[in-house]
């Protein structure tokens, strides 16, 4: 069972997607104007990621290697359209604020990255655990980033006032540049924490998918 726990907790801290793998930055930067939006986006990603990992893991022996990316994308796209429909049917205000970023979950690197790096090689149960862990890690990151920006940019968190009445909101924080600044500060903090624990700094190599692909190409040639 340790493999299961490991798959579940990996995405929550050691490989937390936006801060350690530096994956899925588009939604991370774009929708975190408030803690609410971050949480909503995260919930949508958890749904898609868990189910896409599950289905891809079930189909992994059937899918021919040469069309695997196309198959992964079809599965992810189906789930995203399903999320979009369900969100319109049950949480319309959330759909209005997330808008274009819901369909864009299809091209969120986390979905394809986990399909390729994990679900295509592991059983359904482990894949669900991996999707859930990564999704929860992603959601927490977005919520924290959203809460931070909302607190400084509007003086509230989840709509509840946290700053004293006299606080002048820094509108910069809820605009696009504020997202980059906040993300940078959080990445720096995560790297500092990681350095104390002896981990390498966050970066693209953390996911390893490109290295594996390169190795496979060299091996095949």
């Amino acid at each position: 069972m340790s493999g299961f726990t490991q798959a579940l907790t990996r995405g929550m801290w050691r490989e937390i997607p936006p801060f350690r793998l530096v994956l899925g930055l588009c939604p991370t930067l774009a929708v975190t104007k408030s803690a609410d939006n971050g949480l909503g986006m995260g919930a949508a990603v958890i749904f898609v990621l868990v189910l896409s990992n599950f289905f891809i893991s079930l189909l992994r022996k059937l899918i021919p290697a040469k069309v695997r990316i196309a198959c992964f994308i079809v599965v992810a796209a189906t789930l995203v359209v399903a999320v979009e429909l369900l969100m319109q049917a049950f949480a319309y205000p959330l759909y209005q604020t997330l808008g274009i970023f819901v369909p864009l979950i299809v091209v969120n690197c986390i979905i394809l990255g986990r399909a390729e790096a994990f679900a295509a090689k592991n059983g359904p149960l482990l894949s669900i655990a991996d999707g859930l862990g990564m999704g929860v890690g992603f959601t927490c990151s977005l919520t924290v980033l959203g809460a931070l920006r909302e607190a400084f940019g509007a003086g509230t968190v989840f709509g509840a006032r946290v700053m004293p009445e006299a606080y002048q909101p820094v509108a910069f924080m809820v605009e696009a540049p504020g997202a980059f600044v906040c993300l940078g500060l959080l990445l720096a903090a995560m790297n500092a924490l990681g350095r104390d624990a002896g981990q390498p700094p966050a970066g693209c190599r953390a996911c390893g998918a490109c290295y594996e692909a390169a190795a496979r190409r060299e091996g095949g040639a």
């Binding site: 079809v74 319109q88 319309y92």
Partner: protein
Amino acid sequence: MREIAAMLVVLSAICGASGWILASLREYAAPLIEEQELVHVKGPALRHAFGAFDNDPVRERRRVALPDGGTLLVFPARKGGRLSAVAFERFGEGYGGPLGVMVGFDLSRDALSGIGITTHRETPGVGSRVTSEGFLVQFQGHPFAKLGLKAAGGDIDAVSGATTSSTAASRAVAEALRLWGGIRPEIEKAFAGEGP
């Protein structure tokens, strides 16, 4: 050859299954989505299109038959149980696609009660300013005469830099006005009597 066949079969099967799932889900969700749109899109536009009212126009909406055989979704506004205004939606061709305008008609005189924008895909910050209070307020209580942009001989100021979007809104209003003459008796009959 076998490999290509396997690729074709698997990918087609996955795509087919996905299409079937989404089609059934869409069928299931369509009425729910329509309901949500009425509350979250038409509702706010109706508040703009009517002045004061104390009923629930979304819940009391009715379909009214048009002379050309189609139907029109009409929303009533009541004050103290008496029908004071009605509104329905028309579209004008905007810069990024159809621009939906909820046009309210004041029943006590030949004038609009106001208009509200429902759906649009105008450029944010430019064309989208037709949804601003400053533009919409010009239509509040406006008589039917001279109801058009200044460029077309009316007395409505277009949003500067957003002529296409303003024209779209004004066309939608003109289209609603054209319809109104023919169906007013029909609508009044449909909502006759006290509110529910």
